[in-house]
Amino acid sequence: MIDGILSRLNRVFRDFFDDDELTLTPGMTAAEVEGWDSVATVELMIAVEREFGIRLRTGDIASLENVGQLCERIRGRMT
């Protein structure tokens, strides 16, 4: 399931950053994705909510450390 989430997430990120080469890995942090700053984070979360039809909770965003944690968080909110 996490793999499925990761590949959907990858699509969201590619669209968002307009970069078809971008390949996410679970260990990746914001610092490793060009353009992923605090401004992008807020909008990315909205894009993630739209893609997965979920609602993230207060605290979900600030505490994220890497892509893998985001996938876990998405999975948690989907169930």
């Binding site: 968002f16 307009d18 353009g35 605090s38 984070t41 807020v42 909008e43 909205i46 909770r57 207060t58």
Partner: protein, 602 residues
Amino acid sequence: MTGWTEVLHQARRCTDALAYSALARRAEKLLVAEGAPATHQPLKLALLGGATLETLQRPLVLALMERGLAPDLFVAPYGVFDAEMIDPRSATASFGPEIAVLLLTPANIPAWPSPEATLAEAQNTAEEVVDHLLGVCLGFHRRTGAEIVLNNFHGRPTANGNLAAKLPGDPNNFIQRVNLMLGDRAPDFVHLNDVAGLSAQHGLSRWFDPRLWFEAKQPVSPELALELVRNVAAIVGALRGRSKKVLAVDLDNTLWGGVIAEEGLHGIELGEGTAVGEAHAALQRYLLELKNRGVLLAACSKNEEPDALLPLQQHEGTVLTPRDFVAFHAGWGPKSDSLARIAAELGLGLDAFVFLDDNPAEREEVRRALPEVTVLEVSDDPSDYVHAIEAGRHFEPAVVTTEDRRRSDLYASRCRERVLAEASRDLSEFLASLEMRAVVKPFAEADLDRITQLVNKTNQFNLTTRRMSRSEVEQLARDPGWIHRSVRLSDRFGHHGLIAVVMGRVAEETLVFENWLMSCRVLKRGVERLLLEVAVSAARERGLRAIAGCYVPTSKNRLVEGLYSELGFERVEHDQPGTAWKLELDRFVPLPHFIELEEEAV
């Protein structure tokens, strides 16, 4: 220039906030690569506010570019709008904006009535709030000449249910009072950005997302940020003469239902009697309102002229009459030719025209032949047309009417003392009026979480941006080789909590600052002066002779580049990135601040 043509074309048609942000990022790259299109009018714009503004920055630039402006945008540091506007030497004032956009939220309302307040008390508090805000605007306007775009406030949840509407002390009731008063009293250089109206139109629960407020201090939910940004762009555009002047409308199936030449005066639908007729009459009433406030109406119809005029002259449901139109073109040629002729007759450029037609083929013809004309994309339902005209904010009024002028003269001549006092106050008077009090003490066990959070989150006022884990902080707090202090600040508006820390190692006779940072909530309050004073006495108690520190530049801490120099440190040789500074304690001269040191309440 194909890049710009494409991006601006897509931007104008874009209604989705996230898609718009993506376009705004493309626009930013284009600006770096080739600059703004040469035809765009340069504009120096400052953005200030009490919330996170960075998310709005790129979309705002694009929205202004949609309107033919090439903004040079300056974004003030987070949360310090009042000090930035009061201090004549602030970065915002030095930038010298032509227009300053001040974005506030209810969190920036400095005073609230008590829950039991009477009407008169609530009224007084509202006056205090409005006079403060307008006074700050007036002072900034006098010092810089900038026009100011100031918003009113969206509502907030109330615990009082429907009773709120009758309770002057209710927060939501109070917000409405403040909003009305802002409108009544705003002088002509203050242009109101009607966030109250906008948030009501879209629904407060969609407008304001509490999650994203708590998480990232977003003044508006990302989904509706585009509405806010476009509203600001419309106001700014209007101030720079970018509003459209002419609305050219088709007649058959636009101003009335049906085709006059085929169905005749009694066959078409207009006014009472049918739903479609009512919808067309409502559109006509809206057009009349536009016309009455100075928008020029032109008719552009494929008809014989007598047929085209007939409903406007004789139909009992018509609201508009032929005299309401400055130009009337009926004929069989392409509509683009008619529009070009109307423009020539009126002596106006085609870029001043908006075109409304129910027929997609006509719209397409005009769009292709005259790309300067703004063609409204509409459905075939006349009930949608008013919204279609309104949504693009093409006719945002800019002219200050004589009535407005008169009102602001009145306002000035009455010399509302408080506003003027506010406006002429300098930064030190402002700071003194805040009645700030601080508790400064070595790191306490109970504060370690908050201290660690500050160390890891603070970007702007941060000299070395040295992040530390909680256990590192805990360790140094216990280490006698370190000197550390935290600051809690409160003022007459309330408590700010623990907002600043400094920590340094004792190395021989010198205290070396390793980490010095402060929350952006209290920038420009003089806390750094107080904190240095405290550090100097702590160092003296230890028998030290100097304090040393470094400034390590990052992309976000330019704010404190000159801090050590301002505080009287001497620059010393340094072989690492950034600058190094030293202060001999016997040469320390305390700088004035307006914060009273308080013993901690037990």
